[in-house]
Amino acid sequence: MELSRLPGFLLRRGVKAVIVILAIVVCNFLLIHAAPGDPASVIAGQSGAADERFLAQLREQFGLDRPFHVQLWIYLKGVLTLDLGFSHRQQQPVWGLISERLPATLLLTGAAFAFAVVAGVTLGTLAARRVGSWSDSIITVIALTFYATPLFWVGLMLVLFFSVWLEWLPSFGMGTVGVELHGIDAVLDVGKHLLLPAATLGLFYLAVYARLTRATMLEVADQDFVKTARAKGVPEGQVVRRHVLRNALLPVITFAGIQAGQLIGGSILVETVFAWPGIGRLAFDALLARDYAVLLGVFFCTSVMVVGFNLLTDLLYAVVDPRVEVEG
């Protein structure tokens, strides 16, 4: 699109994102109230930390004796100032717990995403260039397999194969326990621990992107501008890279935006399997402890991440493709 129309487009998308985030906050609030029992006891956790005095304090803090809309307003104000509540299990503010774990999750999902895009687009390109060849049938089989396999089971099987049987790679954590590493060694150590979880999370999307790339490349390859490029003698490799692949990447961007939520959901399972110290693992621990404040906080933060990522793909798409419609 023309750059002059970009600010308006971004503004509309921004407003939409804010509305979605507000709706998520309201959704959280309603969930606390829909739960069986008193919201105060829900927030405090079902057992353990909740004595009477503490519950009374919580009721007052959330204004549970006041009208419904006032309560919603109090809750909304809290969340928007990043006050996501207090984890009485861990004796820490929820936002502190989450922000501490966020980098690990971003590293995991980022690595998985990069792996899926690079490997998926490469495989898809190979398959599209030789329709019906071995690489073509391989991506079909990979896609069918990973569509049908539970993510956490893929992780366990990789652990079984690479950690238990071959003893090549570590099976849990983000670094070797009990050794001090510096500089490049520390990076390599994290990298080694990252390999299996990132592959687990990325394999499914690899299959998706490979299929998507293959389909759109075949579609684009038939179009006139590609024929023109060939007719004027552009070398084949350049036709594929500059003319076909560049256009075929657009659906991949769109799809990446749509699937951001699934990627984050998947990271909860992968982090649980590999004891990766991110917010997914935090959510799992909170689940075991029935620590609802943390769970609600994780839901809010992951939703915000997804909305942010969608905004980013919108922007990317608008910049890359001049034909994108500015409405909506």
């Binding site: 956490f152 366990l156 689940l287 992951t302």
Partner: protein, 282 residues
Amino acid sequence: MSDFWRRFRRNRGAVVGLVILALVIALAALAPVIYPGSPWDMATAPFVPPGEEGMLLGSDSLGRDVAAGIAHGARISLMVGAVSTVAALLIGVTLGAIAGYLGGVADDAVMRFTEFFQTIPSFVFAILLVAIFTPTIGSVVFAIAVVSWPPVARVVRAEFLSLRSREFVQAAEVLGKSRVAIVVTDILPNALSPIVVLSSLMVASAILLESALSFLGLGDPNLMTWGFLIGAGRSVIRLAWWMSVFPGLAIFLTVLALNLVGEGLSDALNPRLARRRAGGAL
């Protein structure tokens, strides 16, 4: 009907899928006959490897028969898959029909609502729902239905949008039929084939979702499920690989079969329809 069957059969993968699915259903139906008694009961010594002491697929850390767990788990997986899909269809078809048939403001409102549910990380939301409403089979089904209806609403809306201006609908309107009657008896039957294809894929994703929830310990504590078996085998994977491998294979085969059947249905019901496949990332 014979035409349908002929087109379905032409897709060899779909026939294989149908056979696997029939076997899984048979296993689920016959579980109490093949493995009488509770799958929670101790059957032999702990950690018996597959094939020894009459344990086809080995035993777990408490001496329970893994094969019995898988057979009984098949009942829960198929049941949760089917029931939550029906529930999701009810929500999705209703909303999609309202949006597509009425159009205008109603359409806008429903589509914004649908978009919201497609934006939020659905698995995290499902976890939250089950955790807050305490893990029971009912809350699991409810959570799966709540996160899986949006694709149905979209497909149904698109079908209704294109069907509502067709002559037979206009004729029904002129005849003075009520809106509800038109939607149910005239439009819906014509929109059925994409819904049928989508449902088989939804059962597949629902089974994956259920297994992921029970793997995290969010299954009904009284029911033996595939995800629970894998979760129980996770911590002892170095000791007893069979505890996590076989239940996972059961999930894989069932979900694969449903996906293949979905493709076959798609070929058979609408040869021109682009192959749609809804995958779960779980």
